[in-house]
Amino acid sequence: MEWQALWLSLRLSCWTTLILLAIGLPAAHWLTFSPRRWKFLVEAVVALPLVLPPTVLGFYILLAIGPHSPAGRLYATLTGGMLPFSFQGLLVASVLYSLPFAVQPFASGFAAVDGRLIEASWCLGVSRTATFFRVIAPLSIPSIVTGMILSFAHTLGEFGVVLMVGGNLAGITRTVSISIFDDVQSLNYAAAMHTSLALLGISFVVLAATYGLRRRVWAAWPMN
């Protein structure tokens, strides 16, 4: 049983979800309400991780954050460290990998908000940003929660991208899925079984708790 790997995966999932909340909400807002004609291109880029093999995505991320890339050099001058094969590098990869799982539910939630409510808010003198926080976001809470759960669960179970970008350093980049792969490779089936079971249990509890909670919260939600 790999407690260290499990703990690392949970930390990675939490941070990824938080970062995706911070960048996914404005991104989804832009995708939903921007009048730009070329926004379909951005939509396609955001959705790429859904169809690209994780190894392809991981390979490009590795190149993009490597010590010879502009991003890697900038990171090195700022922190003195390197992104590949570090927890921070893993975090960057996870955020990109799970981006559509956050942005798409957010955006569909925003799009479902009645445009007349948004116009009513503007006419009452409330700015676009404040309208987002006072009308659009509160009316999209179910979609926002869905996006967060999907990001969390997707990060918890990722494998290919992690392997490409993070490698397999215990306590730094060895996530729970990699530790299971390792155990199976070395024919340590008992350890693999325990870790798999723990991951299964955690995933089920997280999903069951959120869906259960959601039902109770939405039942009392004034929208219904």
């Binding site: 007349r116 409510l117 009513a120 009452l124 700015s127 004034p222």
Partner: protein, 356 residues
Amino acid sequence: MADELNVDVRKRHAGGPEIAAALVLRLSAHSVTVLFGPSGAGKSTVLRMVAGLDKPDEGSIRCGGEVWYDGARRVNQAPQKRRVGYLSQDYALFPHLTVRGNVAYGAHGLGVEEVLASFALTDLAARYPRQLSGGQLQRVALARALAAQPRVLLLDEPLSALDAPARLRMRADLRQLLTSVQMPAIVVTHDRNEALSLGDSIAVMIDGKLRQAGAVGSVFDFPADADVADAVGIETICPARVVSRSAGLVTVEIGQARLVAVDTGGGSAEVFACIRAESVTIERNPPGNPTSARNHLAGRIVSLMPEGPLARVVLDCGFRLTAIVTRQAEEEMRLREGERVTAAVKATSIRIVPRG
């Protein structure tokens, strides 16, 4: 100029008529201007352009000393800056906020309780919009708009979301509310009764163009052209030819029939004669007793249609003439379809408008 809302805008959009509207609203007058016209005439779009929700193609919108929109100078103020109280057809209350939350939304914490009290909403303050009736929703929407202290109210078909009995009740209430809030208002409606009961002045829009503006009574009684006459519900509008003019009276010919009317046709030979059904009286016998009516027309009853306590009678006098009589008169005169009667119309009740 300082206290006027001055709108002069043009806008083309796919699937609708080109909109061209110019109107001036005095902000000091606390009066209600009705923007009236058939559905699809572009009334709502004009209102949305004033609110800043739709952008005109060209023209200008000025309010007091401020420029809200100027196509030539590329000025287009955001709705947030314009301080208009805009009410969409379905009121658009925030479903996740209580009545108090809705009213307080744009109020900066000022005077919320006073506004709630003055709209008799204090008892409903903790309710959510889904728990309110249509009439209550409308009061909340008005209260919310007024709590943000707008300079002008813009109401888009304010009664259309209500069912028929509530609409009648709210019509009187709304007029009273609009009078009591001392705020200039523009009300969009396609309903003649609403226009008559809510408006002080009226602007008639047809096919995207503003056709006539003025006091409600004068526009309804003296439409400028046949389209406006039709829009304000004048039942008989007939093409006619001027035969002679003298002493302020004009004689026109419609087929075989001749009518004498007060001359308002502006000198043209081809005109429309517009006659309201209420001003046509029906006589059973050929005219023997002299009446003040200048025009007596022999005709045959084409159709008889009961409308509550009244009946609508369509006559064929060489042209179709619609009259309204009481059911009682219909009974007494024993009017039947196909029978011959005489219609009488005063010269002052016929409105002559130029044709072409």
